[in-house]
Symmetry: C2
Subunit: 249 residues, 2 copies
Amino acid sequence: MEQYFVNKVIEKNNFIIDDPETYRHVAKVLRHKKGDVIYLVDETETLFEATIEKIDADERQISTNVSKSTFPSTELPVAVTIACSLSKKDKIEWITQKSTELGAKTIIFFDSKYSIMNWKSNVIEKKVARLQEIAKNAAQQSKRRIIPKVVYVNKLKDLVNYKAETNLIAYEESAKQGEISLLAQTLNQEPKSLLCAFGPEGGFSPDEVDYLNQADFLSVGLGPRIMRAETAPMYFLSVISYKYELTVK
Amino acid sequence: MEQYFVNKVIEKNNFIIDDPETYRHVAKVLRHKKGDVIYLVDETETLFEATIEKIDADERQISTNVSKSTFPSTELPVAVTIACSLSKKDKIEWITQKSTELGAKTIIFFDSKYSIMNWKSNVIEKKVARLQEIAKNAAQQSKRRIIPKVVYVNKLKDLVNYKAETNLIAYEESAKQGEISLLAQTLNQEPKSLLCAFGPEGGFSPDEVDYLNQADFLSVGLGPRIMRAETAPMYFLSVISYKYELTVK
């Protein structure tokens, strides 16, 4: 089954798909026919089973008969924000795709001292739009009910504007010093929302860590092995899922 | 600090690095000088701190003074085998790199019914060697004490030759049916070794699942979201690390 997001609220039993991209994918790429079933998620994050009634090639519209699906939600029970230092194009695209598959609600990229890149102000809008499109496609593929929001933050200090109930820094030095229990302790407290900041390959600078610590970001270790910058957020999200979705109390 | 694997047992206080690739990296790429410190892991999986005493450009050798490091091991306390269905070159290279960063001990690629690829017998050796090199580099970068072994298995049925104490299948259908507790139950039993098999994008065929189930592979769900074939092993390894390395009993 495939799933598509629609930018509308589905209220009636009939729904017409007129989004050009969705039309093209359903009618042209996958060549669906009358009677085929696809899934739609509307703006209220509700999942509908949609049976195709008519594909109108002239109007480029698909008429469907819809009913609410009984599938349980695929969203994490905690709102997780992943904040990653800016990196190369392929890495940030990859982080966006994988963080979406793994359940993040917000994906922030920020500029930090040892980032190997920064974005000029005239490209930010285009780059964020591209990442937002990747997040949408990954959300459809992984059957999410929401599309994670992708945000660019120019200065590390502005990260505090996105603070969650609990805020963490994945800090290699913590891991090296044998810090092994703070993440589990934090998750045991069952915060409603969580943000974790991940540094670049070169790590956060000591003054960046100081700043975040003073803003109530707790430094946590993610185990004894050194992970690449793009691997650590995947580790974090996987652990959140295990803890809250697969561990029976 | 960088770390290099040496194919020898280090027994004395002096050690001469004569591996051409390591020589080139230390002396030419990073341009280390006398007095610099690097780390070496020998065949007994012991970590040594090695102070460079002399770089001999004529002989392409580096003389070092070594002493055992007191850093704790970076290996998972359980031997984990990741078995993935064959996929595109970039995906299997990526799985190899990330599984190494996340602590896998053995990485198997196998041919399954819905795999989009298979390897002809005349390319297997070369392809495995290339993946083994990726594993070595990732192991050095993530400061592992071992290089994971990369194995190709022609038939799914031959996977049973690599069985661990506990054997699992990451099975999307289990997740869809709301199976949420078997992974945690399994990990609570603290097996000494674990193998988990991951299907291709198209999933395992029902008869493949039957075969593995009959060979005592337990089907487990990895949460409600659909993950791409390369994401699921990362989820699994991250969870293993969290459970055994970060969760205080």
